[in-house]
Amino acid sequence: MSNVVMDKRPSTLQGARLPRWTPWAVALGSVGAGLGISAAAGLDSKIQWALIAALLFVLVNYALGVKVEGSRQAKDRVATSLVWVAFLLAVIPLASLIWETISRGVKVLDGYFLSHSMGVVADTEPGGGINHAIIGTLEQVGLATVMAVPVGVLTAIYLVEYGRGRLAKSVTFFVDVMTGIPSIVAGLFILAIMLQLELQPFGFAGSLALAILMMPVVVRSTEEMLKLIPNELREASLALGVPKWRTIIKVVLPTSLGGITTGVMLAVARIAGETAPVLLLVWGSAFINNNPFEGAQASLPLYIYQQYANSAGNAAAYDRAWAAALTLIIIVMILNLAARGIARWKAPKTGR
């Protein structure tokens, strides 16, 4: 350690420091030791390897820090290494998820798969496709978005720009509560109405449940974004004699448009993957049904579940489930990228 300090001019302002490469060396060492210990102990699960290496990394960093730099710096090193470990621990399963979905999904994902339904194919046979499910998902999610976004954005505007008093407080409270409504409860609510009216399952019923799930998410994210807008902007506009509603539409909303779009995008992404309400309300179908207002419809997430659950471990069905999962992820990603593009394009030029 000392030679690193010695080759510069010795400073009296700074205590002894570990060289910059120490964390990397410790990381390498603990991964190596983790692998060694695991192999020696005959552990076959990768989860255990990772945990041992992570533990070693934190402990060795702390020990080195205490020995060379003193306890404050050592604490800093522990925090740094814990943060790195948290990051790596989280990345591993997420990377595995993406990798498995792609590598297992590409097997049967092709033009045929996208353009055919399951109409004449039994769940246990190879073949068939997801055309019917894509149509169902797009229609249900689209209808839900059209219903939920105006209500959500307007509610957020009410809460931030107008909201005082008891009504605003209770709306804020219930939006929070509504955020926590499980998707299956929203599904049961519409189901209860359908049982009451003796309706058969159809796509729009699913859209209603999805809209209920989407509204509070849009409200919350829009609210947060509107709150970030400095009051000076509003005051400047109002001082010029602009009515409040035009101030909101011309100043407040454009300034926060990027954030609102991101919020809506996350909300769409959330509901596009919702299976439970669709399972209860739309039932799923092996055939193409273009009309969301009549008859059972399929949807991508529901298709994945049914391929997994109804096939009793059949390989062809698992392949289809992975391919549909990959398709669903790709659709969601395209939505995300498009929304981000819009957000960047529309965003006002700020300092940040």
Binding site: L43, A90, T101, Y158, I181, I184, K227, E274, T275, V332
Partner: protein, 334 residues
């Protein structure tokens, strides 16, 4: 954006504004202002109406089922809602739902806060941007995909960890393992933790990013280490944000349906060990039993959904109160 004033779902209220509303919307004298206020307030009221309707309809359907129930709805360890007379109870479901969510929170919240700090304060700027982008996309991965991955990839990999826990912590009773397929509440908890991680991380990250730069620079100038800066000026600022992030995550964990339904092998028993047996959760039970449910069976499932609804209501209400107690400074309407 002008469109939002035209196709509003709720007509503006025609009543004259009360004194309180006048105060609320100071200067709302122009027609445009009045219409806009009406539209936005109407949307808020619509949300309240929906909440009330959910409670009302679920209760209405649930009452029939519970009055037909031959067993005790809250304590019975069985679910034979389709038989006559129907016998069903929610004890196992309540236990499974709460335990799996707690496991998920214990694992996910510290890790998420760590990742959020990593992105905002530790990683090089470029890397941080890239990672938060990836996390954004991962928040969008649908739960059914997590479920598929959990059942076919995670569960087979958990055997080693289960054996470990059994060997070293088996004496506690909650981590003993009989060597069955690891489709238990603990596996569900791990999967739920992975699922709620992006959401908790995203929200925490946004809050940490807004921590006042001046405070941090002041702390640095006084000679604080990076960790001390975070502890003194970032974490106090972000506490309520982290709580609300955890609340979002907990909400998702409590009501998560498909991932649990694919991973868990359900049974109607409460096991002392988290690694043995299945148990069940409210949402999973509804999804699994719905297909073969009769009319009464569906009402019974709606009744259990009502309980789940009430639980999430209580959890969110409690979290809400915690946040209200530590009200943070907000730039708008200050």
């Amino acid at each position: 954006m002008d469109i939002s004033t035209q196709d509003a779902p709720v007509p503006p209220p025609t009543t004259t504004p009360t004194a309180e509303q006048k105060r609320a919307a100071r200067g709302a004298t122009r027609p445009g202002d009045r219409i806009f206020l009406g539209l936005s307030r109407g949307s808020g009221i619509l949300l309240l109406v929906i909440m009330a309707a959910i409670a009302a309809f679920l209760t209405y359907r649930a009452i029939d089922a519970i009055s037909a129930d031959e067993a005790n709805f809250f304590t019975a360890f069985e679910w034979e809602a389709n038989s006559t007379p129907p016998r069903f109870g929610i004890a196992v479901l309540a236990y499974g739902t709460i335990v799996s969510s707690i496991i998920a929170m214990v694992i996910a919240v510290p890790i998420s806060v760590g990742i959020a700090l990593f992105i905002t304060h530790y990683a090089p700027r470029r890397l941080g941007g890239l990672i938060s982008y990836v996390i954004d996309l991962l928040a969008a991965v649908p739960s059914i995909v997590y479920g598929l991955w959990g059942a076919l990839v995670l569960v087979p990999n958990l055997k080693g960890l289960y054996g470990w826990l059994d060997a070293y912590l088996g004496w506690t009773g909650i981590f003993s393992w009989q060597g069955l397929e690891p489709r238990s509440l603990f596996a569900v908890g791990i999967l739920l933790a992975i699922m709620i991680l992006p959401i908790v991380t995203n929200v925490s990250r946004e809050v940490f990013r807004q921590a006042p730069q001046m405070h941090q620079e002041a702390a640095l100038a006084l000679g604080a280490t990076r960790w001390e800066v975070i502890r003194m000026s970032v974490l106090p600022f972000g506490r309520s944000g982290v709580i609300s992030a955890s609340m979002l995550g907990l909400g998702r964990a409590l009501g998560e349906t498909m991932a649990v339904a694919t991973v868990l092998s359900p049974n109607f028993l409460i096991e002392a060990s988290l690694l043995d047996g299945g148990g069940g959760t409210f949402a999973q039970n509804i999804a699994s039993k719905f297909g073969e449910a009769t009319e009464t069976g569906r009402d019974a499932l709606i009744a259990s959904g009502l309980v789940l609804f009430v639980i999430t209501l209580l959890v969110n209400g409690a979290a809400r109160m915690i946040i209200a107690r530590r009200k943070e400074y907000s730039g708008a309407n200050a």
